[in-house]
Symmetry: C2
Subunit: 183 residues, 2 copies
């Protein structure tokens, strides 16, 4: 049994996630301090459009400050603490891709980093897209990159796609659409 | 362009990850403070044993303090800052499952949470297991649960497995072994 005997707030990221410092007492009597991210959750979007050459996903090239590099990933965004999940998905899709979608299909939930953070990610397939931009965050550097789903599935297998939420969103989408890429 | 104008250390988790607070200047002149986790990286293990009824994976039921619940996941562990990746994989396998493996096959790398953390995870398939326990961390509550690979693949698709690193490790393993589960 692990018991929390004390906690304090270490850091609050604007009105979003915060870092809490817990003092824990272990079964053997030892106490330790452990930091934990309290996170409001996030949505991950798979914006899909049909083309003459097969289904395409609107991917992003996004500069990730903490990595110091631009990476390939699905659109995603942090939920407001009291925000409805579907409304969050609709808002983030417009902010990050400039599109709205007629249909949102849930593709399950993820814990990206349960050793450090309680963040829960909700995946959505977004279909029947049309232009409807909203201004994005000014601290995000984003470029939209449409890519074919079959190429992305191959990148999930060969390791060229490294972002965890994106790998799972792409593979669940291919499975949902019943695309017969042999596992 | 986003420029870092200042940084400080907010928290150091024992000799492991630390939280840095960056002051950033955006292209439009606005400055903001953003916290970033500096992480030494981690290994994710897929310990596989052949049985008369098909391949089995040694999964864990692990209590995750930050989630307040026990979850199903692959064995994994944080690397020491200067530790060799393969030595880390060998050590964590013995600590968390009580087994050594004769062969470790890399299955690619992941970023679990690139919005907050620079953590890189290296996946390994671990085969030809034999008992060789090492003492684990006293702050970890772990139970080993052998499960059939085909059942785990199904849990990756239907959403019953929610831990991101585990979903990707299981699916890459099935793909590597060329198990014909239709995607």
């Amino acid at each position: 049994m692990i018991k929390r005997t004390h906690f304090e707030l270490l850091w609050q990221q604007e009105d979003s996630w915060r870092l809490r410092l817990d003092t824990l007492q272990l079964a053997n009597g030892r106490t330790l301090q452990k930091a934990a991210v309290e996170h409001p959750g996030a949505v991950v979007l798979v914006p899909l459009q049909q083309t003459a050459n097969g289904p395409q996903i609107l991917m992003l090239h996004q500069y990730r400050h903490v990595l110091g590099q631009t990476i390939l990933e699905l659109p995603a965004g942090t939920r407001g603490w009291d925000e409805d999940w579907l409304l969050c998905a609709q808002r983030e899709l417009r902010e990050e891709t400039g599109h709205r979608a007629e249909t949102f299909t849930p593709l399950g939930q993820l814990w990206p980093a349960p050793g450090i953070s309680d963040e829960l990610m909700q995946l959505y397939l977004a279909e029947n897209l049309s232009p409807a931009p909203l201004p994005g965050d000014d601290d995000e550097l984003i470029e939209i990159v449409p890519m074919f789903l079959d190429e992305l599935v191959e990148m999930c297998w060969n390791g060229r796609l490294q972002d965890a939420k994106s790998i799972i969103g792409i593979l669940r989408t291919a499975r949902h659409l019943n695309i017969q890429t042999s596992l």
